[in-house]
């Protein structure tokens, strides 16, 4: 979209990232905390794609350099998605294991590692 400045996309990404940070700090339900982490990862994805699109302004010499500079952001988003999928699978498995152990998943009462 041509009429939208880069700052609008970055502003939305920043707002979502801040919301995710506040959620991680404030909430006590571990599943909601995971959702907030997903929110942060997605806001970073949006920022990557926005920068990848808006740096098309710069003139690049040949087509290989152009392709490299255009695809770097999208590649990073693909890898973030893969890491997020792995993280969610393992993290939810850990939450399930804790729930079976304690019958309670309140994050403030999990002090198994305290000496």
């Amino acid at each position: 979209m041509n009429g939208v400045p880069l700052g609008a996309y970055i502003g939305l990404g920043m707002f979502m990232f801040t919301t995710g940070v506040v959620g991680v700090v404030v909430r006590r339900n571990p599943i909601v905390i995971f959702m907030c982490i997903e929110l942060m990862l997605n806001s970073v994805n949006l920022t990557f794609l926005a920068f990848a699109r808006y740096q098309m302004v710069t003139k690049v010499a040949d087509s290989t350099a152009l392709q490299n500079s255009l695809m770097a952001g999208q590649m990073m988003v693909i890898f973030v998605m893969a890491v997020a999928a792995a993280e969610v699978a393992v993290g939810l498995g850990i939450i399930m294991a804790i729930y079976r152990l304690r019958d309670n998943v309140d994050i403030d009462e999990l002090n198994l590692l305290r000496g």
Binding site: N2, G7, V22, R27, R28, I31, M35, L39, A84, A86
Partner: protein, 179 residues
């Protein structure tokens, strides 16, 4: 053409973006604000769909589709599955008590947003995208992504595949009856 604050001309595209971005931001707040975990998850699904739409507007069609398939299709189903399994949908299982941490967190979040925004946004609000030529437009499609992924990014791709394999093994191990 009338100008909004900051000297940005108000175009139909900007209004459309504002509507989608406002809805996405509202859903993001909903994820944090709702007490019920299922409502948070549904807010997150809507947020991911709107983000996929924004990816389309950023000329990343392939990643928009991937966003819908991977996030709303796979990850959110996993979330909802675990919520139902743990029966955390029951509203009073995990009553969130009032504590000063909540207000402190919101205050710190606002401070972080203001700090980042005041540094970054005044410059970036002036940057506009180059017009999309047909040659540039094909960089968001599956062909360009696949070609790059299997040539320049071959080793990261293999590393990610190993990571996903470890994730599969780890989640199976964690889900076993006796650890």
């Amino acid at each position: 053409m009338n100008h909004a604050a900051g000297g940005v001309p108000v175009t139909p595209e900007l209004l459309l973006f504002g509507a989608v971005a406002g809805a996405a931001a509202l859903c993001a707040v909903g994820v944090v604000a709702f007490n019920n975990a299922i409502r948070s998850a549904l807010c997150l699904v809507v947020n991911f769909f709107l983000l996929a739409f924004l990816y389309f507007t950023l000329n990343a069609e392939m990643l928009g589709i991937t966003q819908i398939v991977v996030y709303t299709g796979a990850i959110m189903v996993l979330f909802l599955f675990v919520i139902m399994l743990l029966n955390l949908g029951a509203p009073n299982l995990l009553v969130e008590k009032r504590d000063p941490k909540k207000y402190l967190g919101i205050l710190l979040g606002c401070g972080m947003f203001v700090l980042l925004g005041s540094q970054v946004l005044p410059e970036l609000i002036k940057v506009h995208a180059a017009p999309l030529t047909p040659e540039l437009a094909k960089f968001g499609g599956p062909e360009a992504i696949g070609r790059t992924l299997f040539t320049s990014y071959m080793y990261p791709f293999e590393a990610v595949s190993v990571l996903l394999l470890i994730g599969i093994v780890g989640s199976i191990l964690l889900a076993k009856r006796r650890i």
